[in-house]
């Protein structure tokens, strides 16, 4: 089902958790809400679920106003970071819960409920655990049960709040791929919240980057990575080299020295130059925009990572460059750096 969020404002005291947020989610999408803690992503998710209420704004699920209904009437599956399983119930009863509490008029008979739970446990590949209690399961297993439980009510949309946040790195990676393939199988419109950019880029069809209660950018993983819309997105997603520059007209200067790159329409005044580590070309001294001495080189896999101390800067600015291994770099070598791809964003105060 499609979700539409309009002009949502939510304040906790004087802190604006969500500041006029608009978002459209298409039917069948797998969307990631990505942002640092305090960016409002979880609040937005909870408002869509009906666990929190906005101060103003609209939420529509499948075209109908959701704000007139409470969480229990929205038919929205919600998966919590810490699973929130019912610990006095077996895995089977946990998954069956949503079916057992349905109003009598539409409640299925026991045999249908059993068959449905069995089917869901098969789907999450944990049918062999149906008589265990949650405390007897690993974190990854608990989260998959929580997901099966949420799916039992045939939710119109599925919301996941940092679903892998409490798991260790290896399990997290497995579950990510598993969630991806599960979504391909069941196609329910899903939104998951994460602060892990790798997770967002790897799992989602579209990524919504949030900061300080606002949406910074919405785009495919490729778009937000390759064409960040704001300085925040560039800094938050992927590793970036950031240098303070001055823009006047089409000239870009670093500490008063001109860099022979174009401003690409950035406004005149103080700005920040963002370059990805692998977008910095290394050449012989004097050939590029920035000169520096290599302090240290580490080689692994297809790349070599060089620490370069930029010369002519007050203090010493050390940046890390990823270069292909076609030419081995040496520590102590003086090189010149030229940004191949870069973005310039005016500094906001």
């Amino acid at each position: 089902m499609a979700i539409e969020v309009k002009n949502i404002v939510k304040k906790f005291g004087s802190f604006a958790a969500l500041d006029n947020v608009d978002l459209k989610v298409a039917d069948g999408e797998l969307l990631a809400l990505l942002g640092p803690s305090g960016s409002g992503k979880t609040t937005l998710l909870r408002i869509i679920a009906g666990l929190d209420w906005p101060d103003s704004g609209e939420v529509a699920i499948d075209g109908e106003n959701a704000l007139t209904r409470g969480a229990s009437e929205r038919q929205v599956g919600f998966v919590f970071q810490h699973y929130a399983l019912f610990r006095h119930m077996t895995v089977f009863e946990n998954v069956a819960f949503g079916l057992r509490v349905q109003p009598r008029a539409i409640r299925k008979d026991e045999a249908t409920i059993r068959a449905r739970v069995k089917e869901l446990l098969d789907l999450v590949q944990l049918d062999w655990l149906s008589n265990r209690y949650p405390s007897q399961l690993s974190g990854g297993q608990r989260q998959r049960i929580a997901l099966a439980r949420a799916l039992a009510i045939e939710p119109r949309i599925l919301l996941l709040d940092e679903p892998f946040g409490a798991l260790d790195a290896k399990v997290r990676k497995e579950l990510r791929q598993w969630l991806r393939s599960l979504h391909n199988e069941i196609h329910v419109t899903s939104i998951f919240v994460t602060h892990d950019q790798e997770e967002a880029l790897e799992v989602a069809n579209r990524v919504v980057v949030m900061d300080k209660g606002k949406i910074e950018q919405i785009g495919t993983p490729g778009e937000v990575y390759d064409n960040p819309a704001t300085a925040f997105v560039h800094g938050f997603i992927g590793e970036s080299i950031v240098l303070p520059v001055d823009v006047s007209g089409d000239a870009v200067r670093l500490d008063g020295r001109p860099l022979n790159i174009a401003a690409h329409g950035a406004a005149s005044g103080a700005a920040k130059l963002f370059v990805r580590r692998h977008d910095m070309a290394i050449g012989p001294a004097g050939s590029g925009a920035l000169d520096g001495a290599i302090r240290h080189v580490r080689s692994f896999g297809p790349i070599q990572r060089a620490e370069v101390a930029l010369s002519g800067r007050e203090g010493s600015t050390v940046i890390e460059i990823d270069a292909p291994r076609d030419r081995e770099l040496q520590a102590g070598e003086i090189v010149s750096l030229q940004p191949r791809r870069y973005r310039i964003f005016a500094t906001q105060d």
Binding site: R74, H82, A84, A150
Partner: protein
Amino acid sequence: MGLTLTWLSVIILIPLAALFLKTFELSLDQFWGVITSRRTLNALKISFGLSFAAACVNLVMGTIIVWALVRYRFPGRRLFDAIVDIPFALPTAVAGVALTQLFAQKGWLGAPLAELGIKVAFTPIGIFVAMVFIGIPFVVRTVQPVLIDLDVEIEEAAASLGANRWHTVFRVILPSLIPALLTGFALAFARAVGEYGSVIFIAGNLPNVSEIAPLLVVIRLSEFRYADATAIAVVMLVASFLIIFLINRLQRWAQARIPVH
């Protein structure tokens, strides 16, 4: 280990053994005669029956109080939280005198109740009131930490799965609290059975009507009928032990279903 057993023996087991030994001064017939006398049976019935009733009331009211103290923020919450402990701290005789004054026919609560034809002081209802008073903190203090630990998220999970408030309370919250509720019930019950100080002031102490078993023990002692007194005490001991044992088993069973993690 050795220390634990020694200490337990000196403090608990040896006095209990002495209790049993003392009753052996009676022949079986005499013993049977003492414990099946009308006065003894009535005293035991009053003690255990009213304690059970008081513990039941405390279970329900205690749960409601805990809920308010843990889940709501209201002015004076900390004060109310502290007030819960008063029955713990107050000397029982003081509590007894206070309750008697309050519920006496001219007392603040006694007078309006008397107009309704309800007499509390110097009747079994008075005993019941005193037992409720001294038992309430046991339920509140046992359940409170467990409820604090119970994540609000599980209620949200239940709601998102379509559960209404009724389902959430009776299928999710209360089952999670069962072990703590049973412990609180057992403690309130045990305290009420053993309560002496506050009850004797308000009870009226009419034999067969409002005379509790501990008081009968004291009366027998003051008549120098030591063996009679211990016979009654042994019956109370065994009955209390059985009840506590039963509740313990129930608790085990409940806890096995909610393993601690």
